[in-house]
């Protein structure tokens, strides 16, 4: 895994003073390196003990911009203008960002991990109707003039994100044509994906949908091993747990995945792609 995300040791404020944290200063011993550090000419420091790379100052934010593709697509000056309104936050698995019927207070731009959008229907389990990763934002309805969420947004696979207040987001959206372009492009992609998901839920078998979902999760988390419980998978796919057990068992017997204690491992990515419905390939290609 590219260690850039390990370096996203983000500060809570985009305009953080360029003071070098003491723990990083301790890693740098020689005079020329310290001098370069003091004059702001250093982008990164490597920890001799474990090879961890710490990005500094603007480098950190350059990496952040690249990490979220919606923000990365903005012109540099537009992105710089947005920075003061963006707070870096750590999202933990299971965090609920939005609830249906409630006001959207913040929008989120994930830098890692995935946020699952769930529709709640009385008398039934939740059903996953969308997924947001590094390619977009959570709270897109604000851009369309609706400030109340229609879905529950739950973090699946934690990671860093940039957060902006709803009021600030509306203000920035009015002020920036470039931001409007990117946000509306993402809104259209979200709608198109929802259409695809509706057809997928109706026509594709659980095993193929499960394979698609596991591949999507692996792509977003950039790992072939991740924690996922069968109960969560049942919610995501809108089927009973017994259905997930059967589908996961079938994939396991074909040696495509391994499943143990709430953790899933993709053993054969090519094989799993072949087992997934066409939606995986289509959505992945659309979002590139």
């Amino acid at each position: 895994m590219k260690p850039a995300l390990r370096a996203l040791d983000v500060q809570p404020c985009a305009n953080a003073a360029p003071a070098v944290p003491a723990r990083i200063l301790r890693l740098v011993k020689s005079a020329p390196e310290r001098k370069a550090l003091a004059s702001g000419q250093v982008d990164a420091v490597i920890d001799r003990a474990n090879g961890a790379v710490f990005l500094l100052h603007e480098a950190r934010w350059a990496a952040v911009a690249v990490a979220n593709r919606l923000l990365a697509a903005l012109p540099q000056d537009e992105y710089q203008r947005l920075l003061p309104g963006l707070d870096a936050v750590e999202l933990a698995c299971g965090d609920v960002l939005h609830e249906p019927g409630q006001l959207i207070r913040h929008v989120y731009f994930p830098l890692a991990g995935l946020v699952s959008l769930l529709a709640l229907v009385e008398g039934h389990r939740a059903l996953e109707v969308g997924l947001v990763g590094r390619e977009g934002m959570v709270g897109i309805s604000l851009a369309l003039g609706v400030d109340v969420s229609s879905v529950r947004a739950v973090v699946q696979g934690g990671g860093a994100a940039l957060r902006m207040t709803a009021a600030r987001f509306r203000k920035e959206l009015c002020a920036s044509l470039a931001l409007q372009d990117e946000v509306y492009r993402f809104a259209e992609a979200t709608l198109s994906r929802a259409n695809r998901n509706a057809a997928c839920h109706r026509f594709h078998v659980v095993e193929a949908r499960l394979a698609r979902r596991l591949l999507t999760t692996g792509d977003a988390l950039r790992s072939d091993e991740f924690p996922l419980t069968q109960a969560f998978l049942a919610d995501m796919l809108g089927v009973r747990r017994v259905g997930i057990t059967a589908a996961a068992g079938a994939l396991q017997r074909r040696k495509l995945i391994g499943y143990r204690h709430g953790s899933i491992r993709i053993l054969d990515r090519k094989g799993l792609e072949a087992a997934a419905c066409e939606c995986y390939r289509i959505v992945r290609n659309d979002s590139r």
């Binding site: 260690p3 850039a4 390196e33 370069a36 982008d43 420091v45 490597i46 790379v53 603007e58 480098a59």
Partner: protein, 105 residues
């Protein structure tokens, strides 16, 4: 990601030997981008085509950098001709770079 730009030519004042360098950067971080640009300008002006430059991204190869004794980016090392030298920062101080590369005393 390791990027290599190898250029070898016939003439190269003032040094007659091939200058072998390694530049350690962090992807597209501002000082790294600047260091690449500054070094490219210096090579064009002083080394013409008598140099070999390997650009190493420490986000991809942190352990390689550590093995080479590098802990901050951007850093430039001159591997040959001897003596070896190292310079840290965005290479904006041209005279310091020329001294490190042995082009200027």
């Amino acid at each position: 990601m390791r990027r290599k730009a190898r250029k070898e030519g016939k003439t190269g004042p003032p040094a007659s030997a091939l200058t072998v360098m390694r530049l350690y950067i962090s992807d597209n971080a501002p000082n790294s981008v600047q260091a690449v640009a500054n070094l490219a300008a210096i090579c064009k002006e002083y080394l013409e085509e008598r140099f070999t430059l390997e650009v190493i991204d420490v986000l991809e190869e942190p352990l390689r950098a550590l093995a080479d004794g590098i802990i901050v980016t951007p850093s430039l090392t001159k591997v040959s001709p001897m003596p070896a030298a190292k310079i840290v920062g965005n290479l904006g101080e041209k005279s310091d770079v020329l001294i490190a590369l042995g082009i200027k005393a």
